[in-house]
């Protein structure tokens, strides 16, 4: 089956990002396809490469990046939510006149249409949040 997964919360404050990542891994193990992971609301904060959790803690951003690299999963960050929260790729940072970007490898920034399109193309759309 094809799944689209929506993530509403950033890493560490709520368990939502953890559960979403565990769900994605388990779905892949079961032979399902992850059509897209869409990061919405505070979920966009999963996609900054500047997080440095304690060494004995899990590294959620790296977990996502690894999933993108190993399984080609499409990690999409909602552009409007990203702008409100300061998640920027190089192009967007330039366009906004900002002097830095922080997007992590494997993530891309796009519009809410990607969520709806994911819902249309996937057999199941599942939301993780607070």
């Amino acid at each position: 089956m094809k799944f689209t997964v929506q993530v509403n919360e950033g890493p560490y404050q709520h368990q939502a990002a953890d559960t979403a990542q565990q769900f994605v891994r388990a779905a892949l193990e079961k032979g399902h396809e992850i059509y897209r992971v869409f990061f919405y609301h505070d979920g966009v904060n999963n996609g900054t490469r500047l997080t440095v959790p304690p060494q004995d803690d899990r590294h959620l951003q790296k977990g996502w990046t690894e999933l993108a690299e190993k399984h080609g999963i499409d990690l999409v960050i909602c552009i409007a939510a990203a702008q409100r929260r300061g998640i920027m790729d190089p192009d967007e940072a330039k366009r906004q006149g900002l002097d830095a970007d922080n997007i992590a490898p494997g993530f891309r920034i796009s519009g809410l249409g990607q969520l709806i399109e994911g819902g249309i193309q996937s057999d199941r759309t599942i939301v993780f949040g607070d």
Binding site: A80, E117, I120, G129
Partner: protein, 135 residues
């Protein structure tokens, strides 16, 4: 992309305390562009999103409640409001905004967008959906 799916946007939070009500409107408007079968439900504190007379100057946020009136123009014409949620809060449909849409198949007759339904009716509506996004 010719697939038409049934999307339900389920709203359960009061407006302004969190961003969900605003984001729900954003994504509903986007979904209209994909020509899907879209409806919205307002349950629990979500019913507060539709209250008349929202004035946000004092909290310094944008008042997005006028957007609900524009939904009809995007063919979002079914806003289900759970009766039990209204009643628990001492509200009636008269406390809600008067939202209309024009039915082009019925000589552009003005019709109510807000449809008050019981829990049981809403449960039936939910069961017919293919994608439910909660806000």
């Amino acid at each position: 992309m010719s697939t038409v799916k049934k999307f339900l946007f389920l709203n359960r939070k009061a407006p302004y305390g969190t961003i969900y009500a605003l984001e729900s409107l954003e994504v509903v408007l986007i979904s209209a562009a994909f020509e899907q079968d879209v409806s919205m439900a307002f349950v629990d504190d979500g019913v507060y999103q539709l209250l008349k007379g929202q004035k946000t100057d004092g909290i310094g946020m944008k008042n997005f409640s006028p957007t609900y009136s524009a939904l009809g123009d995007y063919d979002i014409t079914r806003l289900y409001v759970e009766k039990e949620s209204l009643e628990a809060r001492g509200l009636t449909v008269d406390d809600l905004m008067d939202l209309k849409w024009e039915d082009e198949d019925d000589d552009w007759a003005e019709k109510d967008s807000i449809i008050v339904v019981s829990s049981a009716e809403l449960a039936d509506i939910m069961e017919q959906q293919e994608v439910i996004l909660s806000f």
